[in-house]
Homo-oligomer: 261 residues x 3
C-alpha cells in the first residue's frame, strides 16, 4: 500500500485562488495604492470588483494615516513625480512599522535611470512581492530573467518575484510556479499589469503565504481575462468584461481553466 | 366639499427631477470640478451624458477665470494635495463673489485629520450643498447622522445636507426627503458618489431651490443605477450602462421607478 | 486619347488611412503623451487599440529619456500646471533635437489667458501639427477659422492645421482636406478630441507627409465613431465601442464610409 500522495503546490493553486477570492470578498480588505494617474481608475475598479476597498491618496500629511489603517500597500512607480516619491517613503515606512504586506510594481524602470535607482532603493526595504515584466527585471536585477535569475533574486532580496508576460512566473526562491492563463487583449488595455499587481496586494491582505497570494491573484486575473476575451469584441469591451468576469469568477471556472505548472 | 390637496414636495420629486434633467439638457450648464484624479474621467462623462459641460483645471493662475464663467462649482476633496487646496480657496472665493452655487464633497474626512480640518473651514464658506456618507458626516459634524442631526447641521451651516447610502437623505433644515432608489452595484464602481455630487452641481445650475436640485439629481442618478443594473453583468458593464441610462432617462421612468418619502 | 487622370489627394485619403493604420499596427510606434489627467486613460487605450505604445510620464528628470526613445510626441495643454509646463519645454526641445514629429493640442486656450500665451510660445517651436476646435483657433490665431485663415496660419507657422468639429478641416497651406465623418456622440464622451490628437501623433510616426498623417488619423477615428454609434446605446457604451471599432477598422469600412472633399 502506498501513502496518499501529497498534492503539490501548483496542482492546488486553482483551489487556493478560489479560497483567496472568497476571503477578499468576505473580509473586504483595505488596499492603499500609490499608483500612476493613468491606472488609478481602472485599478480602483478592479479592486472593488474583487471585493477590496481601495484608497489612493498621495498627500504626505495624510498618507501615513491611510496606510496605517490599510491591510496592504501597493507602490507603483508609473507616475514618478516628487509628490509620489515623498509619499512612497512615508507609506513604506508605515507599512514596515505596522507589519503590513506591500507590493512593488517598478513600471518602466527599463526606460529611465532615475526610476531604476529609486526602485533599487525600494527593493532594499524588502517588499513582500515585486511584480514586473522581462525588461523591468533585467533593468532592476541586472540579469536576464531566466528561472535561475528569478530564484536568486527572490532569495537575495527575501521577497517573492512575480514576472508577468505571456506566461507568468512566480517564485519565493524555494518554490516556483508558472501560470499559463491570460489573453493577448490584456496587453491592449492600459493599466492591466498595474491592476493585476493591485490584486496581488489584496490577496496578500488575506493570505500569509506570499507566493500563494501572488500566484493566486495573477491566476485569477488571467482566468478572468480569458473569460472576458470570449465575450469581448475588442479592447474597449474587454476592459469592462474583465471586471465583470473577476466579479463573477467562481471556483469551477478557476478549476476548469487554471493552467499551472 | 374639500379644497384640492396641495401636492407634497416629496410626491412631486419625480416630476421635479424630470424638469431639472430637461433644463440641464437644454441649457448645457458649465460645471467646474475640482475633483480627485481617480474620479475625473468618470465625473466628466456623467456630466456630459446629462448634458452639462465639465471643466477640471486646478492651476491657480487660471482657475478663477474658469469658475467665473461656470454656472456651478464642485469641490471634492478626494485628491488632497497642496495644488488642489490652493485651487479650492481661489475657486470658492470666486464662486461666492459671482453668486454661483457650489457643492462640497468631503471625501474620506473620516480617514484623515488634515481633511477634517480643511473641510470644516470650507463648510464655514457656506456651500450650497454638502454631499457625504455616514462616516464622513460623523467626522465633519461630530454627531451620529440621524434625521435630527442632519436637520440641525443644515440649519446651523445654512446649507442643504445630502447624505447618501442605501437610502439617500436630503434636508435644508425645514424639509426632509428620502430617496430609496439605487442599486448595490453603485458601491462597486469607483467615483460613483463623486459623480453623483457633480450631477448635484449641474442641477444647482438650473434650479434655484437647492433641496429640490440636490434631491432631483440624487434621484435621477439612483434611478439610472437601477436601469443600468437590470442590463449589466457586473460592475464593469454597469459603469457604462449607468451613463447610457442617465443619457436616456425620461420622465416616465422617473415617475414609475421613483421611490421618495 | 486622354492621359489617365491623377487620383486626387482627397479621393486617395481612405486608401492612405488604411495604409497608415496598417503601418501603426505593424511597427507599433512609441508615442509619448503629455496630456491632461482626465484624458490619460482613454488616450492610452485608444493608442493601444490602434497598435501604438503610449507612455505618459511628465517628471522633468526622465521625460527627456522617454521622448528621445519615442517615435512621436503629443503635447496637450488640458492639465495646465507647473509640472507639465516644465515637462513640455524639455519634451519639445528633445523632440526638435531628435527630429521627432510632435503635435500640439491647445485645449481650452479660449478659456484662459495664461494658456493662450503659453500655446503661442509653443507654436513658435514649430509643431508638426496643431489640432484644435473653432474657439481655440480663434483665441490662438486671433482670426475667425475660415478656410483662408487656416491656410494662412499653416503657411505662417509652417505646420499642418487640423480643425475639428462637425466637419474636420486640415491644411498644410497648399492642400486642403475636409473629412465629413463622425457622430454627435463623440462630443458626449470626455477626451475624445484629445485621443484623436494622440492618434494623429501615432500616424506621424509612420507617415512623413504630415497632412496625410493628420487627415488619415482624423478620418479613421471619425469612421470608428460612426461604426461605434451604430452599436452603442448611449455615451457610456459608445466609449468602449469606439475603441473596439478602431481596433477592428479595415480598409473596406474606410472606403465605404469615408466622406472626404
Amino acid at each position: 500500500m502506498h501513502a496518499p500522495q501529497m498534492p503539490s503546490f501548483t496542482s492546488e493553486l486553482p483551489h487556493i485562488a478560489g479560497d483567496v477570492l472568497a476571503r477578499i470578498r468576505e473580509r473586504r480588505p483595505r488596499v492603499h495604492c500609490i499608483t500612476n494617474s493613468v491606472a488609478q481608475n481602472f485599478t480602483a475598479n478592479v479592486l472593488l470588483a474583487a471585493g477590496a476597498i481601495p484608497s489612493m491618496t498621495v498627500a504626505p500629511d495624510e498618507i501615513g494615516e491611510f496606510v496605517a489603517r490599510a491591510d496592504a500597500l501597493l507602490v507603483n512607480l508609473g507616475t514618478f513625480n516628487q509628490e509620489r516619491r515623498d509619499a512612497t517613503e512615508i507609506a513604506i515606512a508605515t507599512a514596515v512599522e505596522s507589519c503590513r504586506p506591500w507590493v512593488l510594481d517598478p513600471v518602466f524602470v527599463d526606460r529611465s535611470l532615475p526610476r531604476t535607482a529609486f526602485a533599487r532603493r525600494l527593493v532594499a526595504e524588502r517588499p513582500t512581492v515585486v511584480r514586473l515584466n522581462d525588461g523591468e527585471f533585467s533593468a532592476l536585477a541586472g540579469a536576464t530573467p531566466d528561472d535561475e535569475a528569478l530564484r536568486r533574486y527572490a532569495l537575495n532580496q527575501e521577497c517573492v518575484v512575480a514576472l508577468t508576460g505571456a506566461t507568468d512566473h512566480a517564485t519565493d526562491g524555494a518554490r516556483f510556479v508558472r501560470v499559463e492563463n491570460g489573453d493577448p487583449l490584456m496587453g491592449r488595455v492600459t493599466a492591466m499589469g498595474c491592476a493585476g499587481t493591485a490584486l496581488v496586494a489584496a490577496a496578500l491582505a488575506v493570505e500569509g503565504d506570499a507566493l500563494a497570494a501572488a500566484a493566486a491573484a495573477l491566476m485569477a486575473f488571467a482566468v478572468a481575462g480569458e473569460v472576458a476575451a470570449a465575450r469581448a469584441h475588442g479592447p474597449g469591451s474587454f476592459a469592462a468584461e474583465i471586471i465583470d468576469a473577476l466579479y463573477g469568477l467562481d471556483r469551477g471556472t478557476l478549476r476548469t481553466r487554471g493552467r499551472v505548472t
